[in-house]
Symmetry: C2
Subunit: 333 residues, 2 copies
């Protein structure tokens, strides 16, 4: 059986020289050079077998990709760019050195897009695969984008589309449903579950073109729950327009097979890692003129009780709070 040192030796080769990382893996800690005009932005995330995924749902390489994507998504929402990451890896006894290499290849595939590599980590035996990722990023001093500070009248805009992750989990869980849909529909939704894109570059483009992003968050729990966090911190009510929420045609197709309204599927779709960006309407128009692809999905209004509503296509407004909570509903516990 490989020892901890074997794993450390294997993954050390994934580290690449970086002008800011003075000391990478192989010592007690990683060392990063500071620059006085900047701020470090640090976030941790975890992806655990049978809590966040089942092993037969993903290739091992996808696991690394997805765990890193989740952590990067948090710093994308802050307006930061990543510098490096550290890994806290629980490895089951049936995992070989080659399996760990596959997992790190997943880190590498995504990390290469942002010129980052792992500068440290920790390994331990674990009955289940457990991937903790700490991402360190950077933002110009005072320029970080927070969750608070939406203003009444601001619009809510979103990158990409929502709903495919919940649709993928339905497909992966339910062989009968899976038989009802063709290969293309499956590929459309499962691809986003396996390889979500952290919106680092999109947020950087936004911030280059406007200095008036009042709030931002990435969708990790679900559209409704995550907008609610901004609403609560800002003391406002959010209204989303059902017909404007960008939904992939394959999600519509699966919702139909499930006999569920699409918006319910969308509401419960966590780990989408799209960004929700809150800004004045005229700033959104400016971004669109700069060819930045954002969809306006709602607005903030004054309120006595912060909440999130959805304005149905038929005109009525209903409360919109069904999120996905791994905490209350882990997959298998």
């Amino acid at each position: 059986m490989p020892t901890e040192q074997d794993f450390i030796a294997l993954v050390s080769k994934f580290f690449k020289e970086h002008p800011r990382i003075r000391l990478g893996p192989g010592d007690d800690a990683a060392v990063i050079t500071e620059i006085s005009t900047q701020e470090f932005v640090i976030s941790v995330d975890a992806m655990v077998e049978d809590v966040h995924f089942h092993r037969n749902w993903l290739e091992i390489e996808d696991l690394g990709y997805r765990a890193l994507a989740a952590a990067l998504s948090d710093i994308a929402a802050m307006g930061a760019i990543p510098l490096t990451f550290l890994v806290n890896l629980g490895i089951p006894a049936d995992f070989s050195l080659a399996n760990v290499e596959e997992l790190y290849n997943g880190f590498k595939t995504l990390g290469d897009e942002f010129c980052i590599s792992p500068s440290g980590g920790n390994f331990y035996r674990s009955p289940k695969i457990s991937i903790g990722v700490t991402v360190i990023g950077e933002v110009r001093r005072d320029m970080e984008v927070r969750r608070c500070c939406a203003q009444a009248g601001d619009v809510i805009a979103i990158t990409g589309d929502v709903g495919r992750v919940a649709a993928a989990i339905h497909l992966l869980k339910d062989p009968f449903l899976s038989q009802m849909v063709n290969h293309k529909v499956k590929a459309d939704v499962v691809s986003k579950f396996r390889r979500p894109k952290p919106r680092i570059n999109e947020m950087q483009s936004i911030l280059r073109n406007t200095s008036e992003v009042h709030a931002a968050i990435d969708i990790s729990d679900g559209l409704a729950s995550d907008i609610l966090k901004i609403a609560q911190l800002s003391g406002l009510e959010a209204v989303l327009y059902e017909e404007k929420i960008p939904v992939h045609p394959s999600v519509n197709f699966i919702a139909e097979k499930l006999h569920k309204p699409v918006w319910q599927l969308v509401a419960s779709s966590g780990e989408e890692f799209e960004l929700l960006v809150v800004l004045p309407k005229e700033e959104l128009q400016k971004l669109r003129s700069a060819n930045i692809n954002l969809t306006e999905v709602g607005e903030f209004r004054p309120t006595f009780k912060p909440t999130v509503k959805i304005r149905r296509s038929i005109g009525e407004e209903v409360e919109f709070t069904t999120g996905f909570d791994h905490f209350v509903n882990p997959l298998d516990l």
Copy 2:
């Protein structure tokens, strides 16, 4: 059952204002102000039920204390001082809000000693308690102490004493052994297992009094394995003197009951979190004159094959490589 938001709300109150932490818990990431003369030092560690401990071995408060101590110990070895930490917490279904508060009280007890508090985290459901800690510390640029760079003739010095952790695990595992020792012996060894001291302040005192620490490491796998890492990176052979290794009388007592040579118990004693410091002999004398409490336990010699030997009291030298590997020998997997 409490939701993730309940846990987040509970632990947010443990964050204390800090001049360098611009944004603590409650957003997507923590934000730390940079200073151009400094470097960030970052390390991750994990403490997992039935891999690193059994639940009946410790109070819940000890768990928090010990997990933070382990992570702080890594940055102590780099010569850094801590700024803040982030927690990646896997919470079993039978854990209440009050239990999580106890765990955070453990973080607080130790964190208060160094004026640090948790500036972020992540929670997930988990079948076992799983505590990932990311510590962020700081050191003056180019002043970090590495594992490499021991020189032939350097002496090896150690803080505190070694062996109590292995002795404690023997006691905790073996009720018959436990019956053979009195309360004081138990308290002596189990206290170090429950509340190990990260040697942050000791290392700072050392570095204020000498600029010639050539290498340092904290004892996490065991005296022999950890010295071996320095030996390998420095291309040298380490020799430890059996009679000089500082061992608590209660460890001698337990070794006798176990019919084991004390040095074997010491060799396999991981997670001691004492520091091994490598420096010229005259520098060690300088530190002693400054009343810094370090014990000289060995030296580095030239070699063709990096290794660690122990010079027995009877004069012979034997290879000394029995470490504790949670990887190969997790407690319960």
